[in-house]
């Protein structure tokens, strides 16, 4: 699971509707798999994302090099693009957990696949 997928996931436990996104990430095992850098795709992707939420996630994963707010100049910066590409598209979380900041429900990541399946008691 890359951060690219992480931003699609929130906590859907019954009653958990505030502060349930983005999920906190606990990394137990990760690896870098190289992929071709596509600046247009990156830009389009980030424009659709909640950058503030992503930034918080990046800080929590010890990626401190990213600005709190994006400026037009950032997109012309090769270093920035490479770093962003590395964290969003190349860093794969193989084992770990996603944790809801609100209810603390833990979702396991096994073999790179996050498991979001809820128990019957957690659904409406």
């Amino acid at each position: 699971m890359r951060l690219l997928s992480h931003n699609l996931l929130m906590c859907n436990v019954k009653g958990c509707s505030e502060n349930n996104y983005p999920l906190r990430i606990l990394v137990q095992k990760s690896k870098i798999i190289e992929a071709e850098l596509n600046p247009d795709f990156l830009r389009k992707l980030v424009t659709k994302l909640d950058w503030k939420g992503l930034h918080t996630t990046l800080i929590s994963l010890d990626f401190h090099k990213f600005p709190e707010q994006l400026a037009e100049d950032d997109w012309k910066n090769e270093e920035f693009l490479k770093e962003l590409h590395n964290v969003l598209m190349q860093t794969h979380i193989i084992e770990g957990k996603l944790v809801c900041p609100n209810c603390q429900r833990e979702y396991p990541i096994v073999n790179g696949i996050p498991n979001m399946i809820l128990k019957d008691s957690e659904l409406k």
Partner: protein, 220 residues
């Protein structure tokens, strides 16, 4: 990703060796989409709507099964493919198929699509592809599941949603699209989808289910 000169036969032969379901589950309606049908449909979309439906795009596969639609999307140049399914076993097969094909664009997510909700920012996907549970098994839980998948897809997609459906659902789905104000284009009808005698209740060796292939989008 293949070169731009990928043709239908290349796509088909890429999909052919992928691992199928090992132990298909009745209640999840796990029918294997034949590689030639998948290749035909994806190619048709490329020809009619343009290669930009997949090339450089962020695609979702709702109910990915063993990953055929996801891998076809990646082969046609999708930059990222999010493959969703509820079943651990078929996701393991999909993971193997993704690994062996080297298509790093494909990522797997285990979730119940009836529960999953798109993130609170803009619609994340450029294109959605799916071959949802047919509802041929008209049980309480399966009834109308295809329509629910379609709604979820349109909610989360800024572009087109491509769906392979049981022909028996045609009228119901078209009515549903009209009610919701969706644009609904029946691209191909009466596709013969072979369902081999893998389930105990099947009487013949193979039976064909007539399927329809739709392009659906939010007209608003």
């Amino acid at each position: 990703m293949f070169s731009r000169k990928i043709n239908k036969r290349t796509l088909e032969s890429f999909l052919q060796p992928l691992d199928p379901f090992e132990d298909p589950k009745v209640h999840l309606e796990q029918y294997q989409t034949p590689p030639d049908i998948a290749a035909e449909l994806f190619f048709l979309v490329s020809m009619q709507l343009g290669p930009e439906e997949f090339e450089g795009q962020r695609v979702a596969d709702f109910g990915c099964g063993t990953g055929i639609f996801s891998l076809a999307s990646a082969a046609l140049g999708a930059e990222a493919v999010h493959a969703f399914d509820v079943d651990t076993d078929c996701l393991a097969i999909a993971a193997r198929n993704v690994e062996e094909s080297g298509m790093t664009a494909v990522e797997l997510i285990q979730t119940d699509l009836l529960v999953w909700t798109p993130p609170p920012s803009e619609k994340p996907f450029d294109t959605v592809v799916m071959n949802p549970p047919f509802g041929a098994q008209e049980t309480e839980t399966n009834n109308g599941i295809d329509a629910k998948f379609i709604e979820k897809a349109v909610e989360s997609c800024s572009g087109n949603v491509y769906v392979l459906l049981n022909g028996k659902s045609r009228v119901r789905i078209m009515k549903n699209c009209e009610k919701k104000g969706y644009e609904c284009d029946l691209m191909v009808k009466d596709i013969e989808f072979p369902v081999p005698k893998i389930f105990k209740f099947h009487k013949q060796k193979t039976a064909n289910i007539k399927c329809d292939f739709f392009r659906i989008s939010d007209a608003k």
